[in-house]
């Protein structure tokens, strides 16, 4: 296990190095000058002297490898640099944004797990009956609805018309509900259909027939036998969805004024804020590698035939 964790750690380092180098290179070669973007944000044109001075201050006149090397050296000392736009340490910007994204992701995840399992199982149990058709129709709509439209629609009904919620107070407890629901609905649509298919597949297995023949209660069959087998394949997908949620969701964040990582990353790209973008990339690298690790552990727990850190074995 120790060896495995060490290997994972090395993997994180390699991913970070690769991802940050790639991001730095791509942003560097993409057109645009960070100093100019920053200084023309208010529709006025700076003088060439100011531009040059700003470029010098930002270190943009240095060669590419020197800039990347300097950033890497800072990173080795735990310094992620200063954000060009916010002019505060990148760590501080991330520290403000990450909790908001984590809060939103966890809430969305809770909704996702609860509703997709509930609807997926119900849909499978009532296969080809009215209830199943309704759920399938709803999940179809869920997948098809664009997030920004759904978000605006929810705001219109629940904020403007009914005034149940507010959108300008992100720190208010209940203000998380609408963005979380907007994020969840398309995902629930997708997962409901997948869970339905997996549960149906398991329900047709001989062990289910045997359990029923033995007089085992239906609820026990579903939760103790069918579900653990049915969700094994979906766990990996869940892991990736969690990572996607944690990476921030630009549209939902913008519509609901949610100061999360998605809009931050977009702004960092727009302003060519290299240090902030690199900080984001590091965070996401860690999230993806860590989630892969967690998914493996959960999969092993649910399916003991899988052994962590080894080839898949059939005992």
């Amino acid at each position: 296990m120790k060896k495995y964790i060490f290997r994972r750690f090395l993997q994180v380092l390699l991913v970070i190095l690769g991802a940050t180098f790639l991001t730095f290179t791509l942003t560097y070669i993409s057109p645009g000058d960070a100093a100019e973007i920053l200084l023309t944000a208010h529709d006025t044109v700076p003088t060439e002297e100011v531009l040059e001075r700003t470029r010098e201050e930002m270190g943009l006149n240095d060669p590419f490898m020197l800039q990347y090397g300097r950033w890497l050296k800072g990173l080795s000392q735990g310094d992620l640099g200063i954000s060009y736009r916010a002019k505060v340490p990148v760590m501080d910007v991330l520290a403000q944004r990450i909790p908001m994204t984590v809060k939103l992701s966890i809430t969305a995840l809770c909704f996702l797990v609860f509703f997709s399992l509930l609807l997926g199982i119900l849909s499978a149990i009532y296969q080809n009956r009215f209830f199943d058709y309704i759920i399938r129709l709803l999940s179809f709509f869920g997948i098809s609805i664009p997030s920004f439209w759904l978000g605006l629609l929810l705001i219109y009904w629940f904020v403007v018309k009914m005034r149940y919620f507010t959108i300008t107070n992100p720190n208010e407890l209940k203000s998380i509900l609408l963005p979380a629901i907007t994020l969840t609905i398309p995902l629930v649509g997708r997962y409901t259909r997948q869970i339905r298919a997996s549960v149906l597949e398991e329900l047709s297995q001989d062990y289910v027939l045997g359990a029923r023949a033995r007089g085992t209660k239906e609820i026990k069959i579903i939760f103790q036998h069918v579900l653990p087998n049915a969700i094994i394949g979906i766990i990996t997908l869940f892991g990736m969805s969690i990572a996607a949620l944690l990476s921030g969701t630009v549209i939902v964040e913008n519509v609901f004024l949610w100061p999360g990582l998605g809009s931050m990353a977009l702004e960092a790209i727009e302003y060519r804020d290299y240090p902030l973008l690199q900080g984001y990339v590091i965070f996401m690298s860690i999230v993806y590698v860590a989630l892969n690790f967690v998914v493996e552990i959960v999969t092993q727990y649910l399916d003991p035939r899988v052994t962590i850190g080894a080839e898949r074995k059939i005992k």
Binding site: S30, P31, D43, E48, A86, L122, Y164, L257, E270
Partner: protein, 519 residues
């Protein structure tokens, strides 16, 4: 089992509905606590469409937030009609072309209670000159002397726009002794009717009234300034009552508030001009007739009214400014005239493919804009593509995330630009971008007559003469078709009925001041 699951599902849904049904505006209700019998706190919730990472006034354009939210004040400022007014300075006198004496108003206090005298103002201005990166508003200072409430500023040379520059939010008067505090950039100590109590990046600010403001009692106790970038969300926040005041409402949403007794709409052109700058290095652009044909070939009126809900532009400056062109547009949409001009100038379609040629090559103009210029830039490009077809000119519409490299390399014919044309109520800044070596003159426009006017403007002191020179310069650019000036943005301020004392400032540098009231 199914029944149990359904019951559980229903319970969860009920819980969410109950949470949702709670009183919605909790934070505001807390603030609207009763101070004493009959003394309810007056709270204003306003939206800003732009918020920088901090509000240190000497950094870039961050000071705009201070002026927009009534936090910062200058010696002099521009009122809603772009006239200079005395603020921290009670009056001023121009001694000669290099010297101005300001008489500082008695009774002005910083947000921390310290009195403002000439010495405090001097330090604040010196600080801005020293550390600001805004070279465009800095001025060459010879000396600044403070004597009680008298401040004398002497510039190195005649500096006609000194007052205009001092009105820029970069020169917001702040308590320099408090600026050492690292928190100063989030809670600057200024003199405006409202002081910052909290600043949250990307979320907004909370302000409370400055009890010792020089104007007397400020009528609003708390201002919640909320950063709402998206225009649709600002509209919905106004409709839901979460905010009382918002600016830059999408034109298509304005009808929701106009003819609605609950809201008041103020609108009119602001200082933002949208234009297409020519790449004068392209040989055909050197021909005046060609540029005139392009000007005749576009229906600005329709673009402005139907595509972008703006005000059609005649020149760089709106006629609400004292140096704006007051007459008719020199080139109104006239495709016949455009065709005639092109024919006469020798731009002929010899191969009959519908596109005129220049030196054997089809003339296809590359029209570039940035993605953050939005659909408006693209839509106008497409409309132009269609209209230029009628005059035998091709257009390739390109929208990229960033066009600075294309601009530097001259890889364009028409470049979409968006300018705040006279933020300090003076024409010099914008006109400089058409001077032969002027900053921002990426299209390499050059006109000796214009350069002469511009050079004269730079040394002219008298406001009336400056206005005339500004107008002459602008008209010359219009006649010479130095650019295609398309439209002015329509500035909008929408408030609900409970707010009073709101004015639409043409400059959009101010949204609220000491006159604001909440009923």
């Amino acid at each position: 089992m199914v029944k149990k699951l359904l019951a559980f599902f229903i319970i969860i849904v009920m819980v969410f509905i109950l949470i949702g049904c709670g009183k919605s505006v909790e934070t505001e209700t807390n603030q609207e606590a009763v101070l004493g019998e009959g003394n309810e706190l007056k709270v204003l919730n306003m939206a800003l469409f732009w918020l920088d990472a901090n509000i240190e006034p000497t950094e870039g354009w961050h000071g705009w937030t201070l002026s927009r939210a009534g936090i910062g004040e200058n010696l002099v400022q521009f009122d809603e009609n772009m006239n200079l007014k005395a603020v921290i300075a009670e009056s001023w006198e121009t001694v000669d072309e290099r010297t101005i004496i300001f008489h500082i108003r008695e009774g002005v206090k910083f947000h921390n209670g310290k009195a403002v005298d000439a010495e405090a103002v001097k330090k604040s201005i010196e600080r801005a000159l020293d550390i600001s990166n805004r070279d465009d508003v800095k001025f060459p200072l010879t000396s600044m002397e403070a004597d009680g409430h008298k401040l004398t500023i002497v510039t190195e040379d005649a500096y006609p726009t000194l007052l205009n520059n001092l009105a820029d939010p970069v020169f917001t008067i702040v308590d320099v002794s408090a600026a050492e505090d690292p928190n100063f950039k989030y809670q600057p100590i200024a003199t405006g009717p409202f002081k910052v109590t909290s600043f949250t990046p990307d979320v907004g600010l909370t302000l409370e009234k400055h009890d010792e403001h020089w104007s007397g009692e400020v009528a609003v106790d708390i201002v919640n300034v909320k950063y709402i970038q998206d225009g649709s969300v600002r509209t919905m926040a106004l409709q839901s009552g979460e905010i009382d005041l918002a600016t830059q409402i999408n034109a298509r949403d304005l009808s929701l508030f106009e003819n609605n007794d609950e809201f008041v709409v103020h609108k009119g052109p602001n200082l933002r001009i949208f234009l297409l700058r020519f790449n004068m290095d392209k040989p055909y652009m050197q021909h005046l007739a060609f540029r005139q044909a392009l000007a005749y070939g576009i229906d600005k009126e329709t673009y402005a009214r139907e595509l972008v809900n703006g005000v059609p532009a005649k020149g760089p400056f709106t006629d609400e400014l004292s140096f704006g062109h007051q007459g008719e547009d020199f080139y109104k949409y006239d495709p016949q005239k455009a065709n005639q001009l092109l024919d006469e100038a020798g731009f002929i379609d010899t191969n009959g493919d519908g596109i005129r040629e220049y030196q054997g090559e089809n003339i296809v103009l590359k029209y570039i804009s940035r993605t953050n210029h939005g659909n408006d830039a693209n839509n106008i490009g497409i409309a132009m593509q269609s209209q230029f077809k009628d005059i035998g000119i091709g257009v390739e519409v390109v929208q990229v995330e960033n066009y600075s490299d294309m601009a530097k390399n001259g890889d364009y014919d028409l470049k979409w630009e968006r300018w705040t044309s006279a933020p300090t109520a003076d024409p010099e800044n914008f006109l400089s971008s058409y001077g032969t070596d002027g900053p921002g003159n990426v299209g390499n426009y050059s006109n000796p007559e214009f350069d002469r006017l511009y050079d004269e403007l730079r040394i002219t002191f008298d406001k009336g003469s400056r206005d005339q020179l500004g107008m002459d310069g602008a008209e010359l650019l219009m006649q010479d078709v130095a650019s295609l000036f398309l439209y002015y943005q329509e500035g909008t301020v929408v408030t609900n009925k409970k707010v009073d004392g709101i004015y639409r400032f043409i400059s959009e540098v101010y949204y609220i001041d000491e006159r604001v009231q909440v009923k």
